[in-house]
Structures are given as structure tokens and as C-alpha cells.
Symmetry: C2
Subunit: 388 residues, 2 copies
């Protein structure tokens, strides 16, 4: 089977940006081309865009080739836009991956972009509600924060996970994003700040939540053969999996402290890569809310089930611990422009594997895991390995 390499990557600063949807795409795309001068827009054969609701935030559908054209790319072999709410970025990378493995294209660009902040703030909040089941849950008030708060409450009840442990995730990720000039938040945070921030949905406080940030990220993938002429530092995708357990929380979630679909996807991805959780040097995990990172430690096998709170408390998910989780600052530190997030993971993996991550460099980084979720019931995983 053909191997697939990540050969270029770049992103915009995430935050409340004045840039339009198209300008965000151009900024990230240019950064990706700047990261590898052997690749130019005219070489790109395939183009996949990850974006959730440009129809609402930019009054624009039919976005894949619009984005490609904005970058001077003419996709001769493959194109399309992918959406799977917060996890879209990894789904888009998988589309590029399978196309390259199948031989439909050799050089595919993936861009993730989202304009979250729109002129009317209530409209921005309503856009987020489109991600919930409108008929059964969204229109009754189940937005993302209460959905994940239910997980946090269940985890607290069953395993004793406490507010201090939730807050340690936020402090860690804010402290990581302090070293990331592309992050929304670059000032760090203290336990006091996090634990005194206002309550959003019990027990999740403001600083336990990722933010409405605009942003875009871009990555270029090549078949192993094609990559040879373009870089001497290929980073290979060696495992990938998805699993869904369900959509509406009311329909399927007996016990929200367990996310069986994440465990299932992780096991499939590990098996495909021929590795286990102990082999991961660093992980980009989907900390949309701090509880999500804690549950991910467990389902990914970094620690035993129920031990996620202790894992962060003992510093095992930080530099010098067992696995560095979210070195760029995660969604809590960097912000969460939905379609961009999974692609932004790849930009961090690109820098870390090449030893170019500066003050946030993970020493000896060779194997990385990228995880996004689209709610507690849908999970997406990629495993990357340094090929040089």
C-alpha cells in the first residue's frame, strides 16, 4: 500500500480576526507554501477543504474550489469540502490520505478554515447550535457546554474527578500556548484565574472551555514517491481510524463518563500503526472542554479508566511526563475555529517532528497522535511518524 507523507504545513494566528473567510484561507495557504519552497500552487493535484458552516458565517457554500482558486491552485484530480463539525479537519486529512493511497492523486492540499466571529454575537452562538440535533436537543438548549458538562458531572460522580484537576488542564494548555505566537491566548493562566472564572455550565467555567476563534490551517500531503523529490524530512501517516457511537445524547449515552467510540477508534489506529499508547511522544488532543482532555487520556490508554484526573495532577501529560499533551496549547489555549482545528494539529506535528517548535519543542519527538471529536460520540484519529 502506498505511504502518505506530510510535507508542508502552515497556519494563521487564531483569534478574533478582522480577516474575511477567504483571507484566512489565503493566509494559511501561503504559510503552508512558505514552509516548503519545493512545492508551488501549480503542482497541487487535489484540494480538500475542511469547513463547518461558511453557509452561515460567510454566506458562501461551494467552498472547496473557491478556496483553491484563492490560492492559485487548480485541482486537476480531486476536490471537495468536508464537514463533520468540530472533527472536520481530521476527516479532510483522511480524504486526502485515502485518495493518495488509492492513486487518484499524488499531491493533495488540505485547508481547514472557519470564521466563527460574525458581526452579531447572538448569531455566532446560534451558528454553533446547528451542530446539535435541532429537532431533539438543540432547540431545547443542549449546546456544547452543557453536553460536555454532563460528561464532567458523570466523571466526577464515578471517579471523583474534581474542579482542581479540570483546572490543571486549562493552566497547562494556557502555559503551552504562551509559547505559541499563533495562539489566541498567549498570557498563560493561574489556578486562581481558572477557578475564579465565571461558571458556564456546572462544573465547567469559562477557562475550562475553548473559544470562538477565527482561523485557518493548511497542510500538504504527498505519496511517498512524490515526497522524495520535495523534502528530505517526510512525516508519514501510519494509522488512522474513526468511530461513532451515536449523535443525540439522549439516544445512546448511558454513561457519559465513558466514550467507547474513542477507545474503539484508538485501538483501530494503534493496530494499523503497529504501536501502542506508550509509544506516543506527544499528542494533539481535542480539549474543547478540559473534561474532554481528561477522558481522552483514559480512552486513548495513556492511563487506566478513571485515572485521568490523577494523570494531569501528577504532571504526566506535560513536558517531562509520560506524553506531552497539546504542546501548542490545545483548543483551550489556541482557540477552536472548527474546520481548522484538526488541520492545525498537523501543523504542530510538522514543526515538532522537524525540531522547529522553539520553546515548546518536545525533545526527541518521533511518534504523534492527533485526535478530534465531534461530541462525546464521534471520534477521529491520525497517527504520524517521523520518517527521517
Amino acid at each position: 500500500m502506498r505511504r502518505v507523507a506530510l510535507i508542508a504545513a502552515g497556519l494563521t494566528r487564531f483569534g478574533i480576526r478582522q480577516a474575511t473567510y477567504r483571507e484566512l484561507i489565503q493566509e494559511a495557504g501561503k504559510a503552508a507554501f512558505d514552509s516548503n519552497k519545493n512545492v508551488s500552487p501549480k503542482d497541487i493535484e487535489g484540494f480538500v477543504l475542511s469547513s463547518v458552516f461558511p453557509e452561515r458565517s460567510a454566506f458562501q457554500s461551494h467552498v472547496a474550489c473557491l478556496a483553491a482558486e484563492s490560492l492559485g491552485v487548480r485541482p486537476r484530480k480531486l476536490f471537495g469540502r468536508v464537514e463533520n463539525m468540530c472533527g472536520s479537519g481530521i476527516v479532510a486529512i483522511r480524504t486526502a490520505y485515502t485518495a493518495i493511497v488509492t492513486g487518484l492523486a499524488d499531491l493533495v492540499m488540505v485547508v481547514g478554515a472557519e470564521k466563527m466571529n460574525v458581526p452579531v454575537p447572538t448569531e455566532a452562538a446560534l451558528n454553533m447550535i446547528t451542530g446539535l440535533d435541532r429537532d431533539w436537543e438543540g432547540s431545547y438548549g443542549l449546546a456544547a457546554p452543557p453536553m460536555f458538562a454532563l460528561s464532567a458531572q458523570a466523571h466526577a460522580a464515578k471517579y471523583g474527578t474534581n474542579e482542581e484537576q479540570l483546572s490543571m488542564v486549562s493552566v497547562k494548555n494556557h502555559n503551552h500556548s504562551k509559547n505559541n505566537p499563533y495562539a489566541h491566548f498567549q498570557k498563560g493562566s493561574t489556578m486562581e484565574q481558572v477557578m475564579c472564572s465565571r461558571m458556564i455550565s456546572t462544573p465547567l467555567r469559562l477557562f475550562h472551555c475553548s473559544t470562538m476563534s477565527d482561523g485557518a490551517a493548511a497542510a500538504i500531503f504527498a505519496s511517498e514517491e512524490r515526497a522524495k523529490g520535495l523534502t528530505d524530512k517526510p512525516i508519514f501517516i501510519t494509522g488512522t481510524a474513526q468511530a461513532a457511537h451515536g449523535y443525540a445524547v439522549a439516544n445512546f449515552h448511558r454513561d457519559l463518563s465513558h466514550w467507547p467510540a474513542l477507545k474503539e477508534a484508538a485501538n483501530d489506529a494503534y493496530a494499523m500503526a503497529g504501536i501502542g499508547p506508550d509509544d506516543i511522544d506527544f499528542a494533539e488532543l481535542h480539549d474543547c472542554f478540559s473534561i474532554a482532555e481528561i477522558i481522552a487520556y483514559e480512552e486513548l490508554g495513556f492511563c487506566e479508566k478513571g485515572e485521568g484526573g490523577k494523570f494531569i495532577e501528577q504532571g504526566l501529560s506535560d513536558y517531562g511526563g509520560k506524553v506531552v499533551v497539546n504542546p501548542r496549547g490545545g483548543l483551550i489555549g489556541c482557540g477552536h475555529p472548527l474546520g481548522a482545528t484538526g488541520v492545525a494539529h498537523a501543523t504542530e506535528i510538522f514543526l515538532q517532528m522537524r525540531g522547529e517548535a522553539g520553546p515548546r519543542q518536545v525533545p526527541g519527538a518521533k511518534i504523534a497522535l492527533s485526535h478530534t471529536n465531534s461530541g462525546p460520540g464521534e471520534h477521529h484519529i491520525l497517527i504520524f511518524e517521523k520518517g527521517f
Copy 2:
């Protein structure tokens, strides 16, 4: 390389439907399961949804797993929503195809769905405008009808294609859809009706245009190995290609009577399948406007460039001619629920190959081509061959 088979398919009636977005999905999904009693929802491993703007028409994003759950499907291996405006359906089928070839899943369901008619008709028209480049063209009035009218004018000026020839496409497709109980229009039409219908964008009249129809379609694909236990009538995907020439009409279209991306995609797909245009028994072509079918005859190689008008005039695209084009009635006869259209092509190919198309059966159908466009500059092709 693993082969991929179409093993089940079904659809809703297209039209102005009272059904909600979710109900359309359920209706089409049930029809697909009804078409092959060896496959049940619990067997499906992957789920791809093709849909363009549910964010606007159903206030719902994050639609793939919502659709899956509505059908009792839990995608254990693969899921996501695909959007590429009018051509989305084929892009979704390609996603299922590449995933199966790569080995990420063995049994993948593709559903295409669109709710076009919303309570406020002006809102429905505005939704369509999201498919144009808002910044450069959409907000200046370039909707789909004038864009294709420019192609019709260029083709008339260069090749003498006339209004009678454009109208013959509409009459043919309406006469085909008369035999299709799932079509929006089932009354046939006459040359007089078509040529006296009101002008939409010169020279395109009302009956030269496809319509705003609600609808959904579903198809199930399996690896060859898995298909063996599920059907003795597999239909294989033997070729597929996409090509884009550009997005904004102003940016790239020197001569709108030529669609080079369609020619490029067709040649790639023929090469992959090891066939030529003469081998095609019937074709599902994207007649969003009658001129689109005429130009497609040419770029697909069914006739010489510029001879498309004569091709329909001589009856060569009808039963008894060279290739039966749009036996189910095309977009003009059936309607065009954007995300559903490319998947609806597969439902017709499923019936025709099995000899179950009733009064519209193409005799001896063995090889079929499915083509969708997303405007004159973006084209998508699948080639199917009867495997029994």
C-alpha cells in the same frame, strides 16, 4: 487493488415535498435497505452524507452522523459529510470508493439529501446564490441560470446551436421522466411548451432549466469480497475522475462553449476503466440546463466538438441512438435536489443494470457513465460496469 461494488440503492420521489430534511433521508435510506434484504443498518461500517446547505435550509450542520442515526446506522469505521455544490453526490461516492479501496471499511452507505424548498421562496433563491463566488460574482447577480446562459450564447455563436436543439433536450428528458414515478415531472412536454415557456436568462427558458426540488437518494457500496455474500448482482465502479478548471467565471473562462475540465476528467476516467466513449450504453449526465447536456455530449466524446446540437437533433442520445442519455429523466425531468443528484444517478444505474427499470429500461445495459458538474469549471465522473 480492491474492487468496489454498488449493492443497494433507493430514493425518494423528488419534488416540492412536505417532508423535513431528516424525513427525506429516512425515506431514501429505507428504500436502499429495501432494495437488498441481505444488508441491514447494523452491518454498515461507513456513512457518507452528500448535502450542500442544510445549515441554511434546515438550520442543521454536523449532518453525517445525524443522518446515520436516523437510519439506525452506527458508523464504526468512517463517516463525514461532503459538499461540492451540485456535484456533491459523486464526490461522496468517491469518498466511499477510496475508503473501501484503502481498506478502511468494507461496507459504506452514501446518502445524498437536500431540502430546496423552504417556507420563504426568496430565501430559497438566496440559498442557491451561496454557490457562486459571493465577493466577485454572486452579489453582482451571477446566479446559475445566467452563468449557463453565457455558455449557451457562446455555443450558439461558435457552433450555431439553436433554441430548437436546446428544447429537444428538455422534451427528451421530460419524456423519459414520464416513465419514472420518482421524478418531479411526469407529464412529458412538447416542443411548443418548451419554446413558449417564459425566458429565464437568454436563451434559456423555464423548461430548459432544472428545478428546485426536494429529495434524497441512497446507495450502498461494498468491497468485492464483502459483496459476494450480499448480492449475486454486483455493479462495479471501474473508473472515476474529477477535474477543475476554475471557479469564478470572470477569472478563467476564455471560451464558455468549451469545458476543458470535463474533457480532462472524462479522459482520466476512461483510461482508468480501460474503455472509450463508444463503450457507454447509457449515461446519467448533469443537465442542470439543457445546454449543459449538449456540451457534455461533446466533451465526453459522444460526438465531435460543436456537434452536440446535431447529436440531439438526430436522436443519437435517445433510445435506439448511440447512447441513451438520462433515461430516468435527468435533472430537467426529475428535479435537482443538489446533494442528492449524483447519488440518484447511482440509483438509476442500479435499476438499469439489473434490468429493473421497467418502461424506461435501456436494452442490454452493461456500462454506464455518471457525470455531475459544479458549474462549467468543475466536473466529476464515475463509470460503472455490470459484474454479472
